[in-house]
């Protein structure tokens, strides 16, 4: 959004992080960015996982990557040469990272420069963080205005999420400058209400109690997520997907709207559903 009299309203920088690996950060980054784009906001999603990049695969643009994040940081290319426009939505752009380098290539001042440019051009800058708590993850969260902590309803994921929340509160740029800290949201992913009912999985309340951060959404375990990654389509573009719909709810809540929490109760499998195999 641009304000009046040429005054720029800078984009909000949102980091998708978790601590634990494999919980759904990249799926969420893609789904969330796509969800924001569907709502009309100019959005760019950046891959911070240097050396283990997969955002380009999940977004389906791996065959159009010429220049990447590290090229731009090093000055080998400019931003517009590296940004890839999504074919499905004009508001959505992808900023891939390097596969051949590693996270040492993420120089903080270079990242700052790139983000400064991106926040001028977009409404939302979504940062897909790598797993862990070292340089790559720290750099991804350093400039964040908001954070979405992706957590599975499982003990080690919750422990690692707690750790990364602590790090966000103390090592973000906002914390270092004594500004208001990034707002931190919980996104519970791969939630299976049937398993929760059987006592095999932590409940939403269990996780909320341990992490003490506001709940942004609950994304159900869904076969559509695997299909989405394999076809390079953010799951929010799949109209039949329960996970996709849950992500759209989460985006709505992020934008300040009220949405009831769906997909948290065990579904009664109706015959029709079984027949059409809706996941």
């Amino acid at each position: 959004m641009r304000g009046g009299w040429g005054k720029e309203i800078l984009a909000k920088v949102v980091v998708i992080t978790s601590g634990k690996g494999g919980v759904g950060k990249t799926t969420t980054a893609a789904a969330f960015a796509a969800g924001l784009a569907l709502r009309g906001h100019r959005t760019v999603v950046i891959d911070f996982d240097v050396g283990l990049r997969n955002l380009d695969l999940i977004m389906g643009c791996e065959r159009r990557v010429v220049f990447d994040f590290i090229n731009v940081i090093n000055g080998d290319a400019n931003l517009n040469q590296a940004l890839i426009k999504d074919k499905r939505n004009d508001n959505l752009y992808i900023f891939p990272t390097s596969q051949t380098r590693d996270k040492d290539a993420l120089k903080r001042d270079g990242v700052e420069r790139v983000l400064a440019e991106l926040t001028q051009q977009f409404d939302y800058v979504i940062c897909d963080s790598p797993a862990g708590i070292e340089h790559g993850a720290i750099t991804a969260l350093y400039f964040a205005d908001s954070a979405i902590i992706v957590t599975n309803p499982e003990v080690s994921s919750v422990r690692d999420s707690d750790r990364i929340i602590g790090i966000l509160s103390s090592r973000s740029r906002r914390a270092e400058r004594n500004e208001s800290p990034p707002d931190i949201h919980l996104l519970l992913t791969r939630y299976d209400p049937a398993r929760v009912a059987r006592g095999e999985m932590l409940t939403v309340e269990d996780v909320k109690e341990i992490l003490s951060i506001p709940l942004l959404g609950v994304i159900p375990e869904s076969e559509s997520v695997l299909r989405a990654s394999n076809t390079g389509t953010p799951v929010t573009f799949d109209p039949d997907s329960a996970a996709g719909r849950a992500y759209l709810d989460a985006v709505a809540r992020f934008l300040g709207e009220q949405r009831e929490m769906r997909f948290v109760k065990p579904e009664r499998r109706s015959f029709i559903r079984v027949l059409f195999g809706r996941a």
Partner: protein, 240 residues
Amino acid sequence: MAAGNFVQGALFTVIVVRAALLHDPAFARELAQQVARSPRFFRYAPVVLDLKGADGFTDAAQFGEARRALAERTLALVGVQNGEPAQVDAAAAAGLASFAPTATQPARRVPPQPAAANIPEPAPPPAALPARASARLVGEPVRSGTQIYARGTDLVVTAAVSAGAELVADGNIHVYGALRGRALAGAAGDTNARIFCARFEAELVSIAGHYLVSDQFPAELRGAAVQVVLDDDRLTVTRN
């Protein structure tokens, strides 16, 4: 103490180092290891040099050297004790205070420490128990991986303490919330320190180096409001 409203008295815990040890390579190694194990405990920690039986140190420059050597280990040399008049004068010239002699005891070896060794080696306690500074208050949840050390005082937490977080205090520890991490009270050797919590789900509790792990807690007290007391070298957990 007197002097009206302008000067107040206070008692502090300081580390006492025998002057003769400064040149001992074994001491240097041991000190380096201790500092590496508990960097926060030793950062800018005040040190008093015990000059009892020490030769030399009649020159301000030697104290300057001692100060630098300790500063390399992040310690702050603040004064001397048990010096001959000539040594005390030289120390003063180097800007060091003169402390009254104390009944220093040899550093107490505590029972085997937990592997992470985040319990700092207790400093030789001075003859009188130090008066407590105002308790340290933490109002935010203490996240996993966070370590809080309340030096010379009590620690009060009014939120939950996550698993994987560590609370250390020279005094008592009070948690008005769930305690799911580790709590180490009386870290400098005070056996009278206690741990209080509203919901007992700790990983480990320790008072003055004596510890119990979660496995050893009485099962019926899990989740209850308890206090942990050191009684005759044995830790007891009782309902509050």
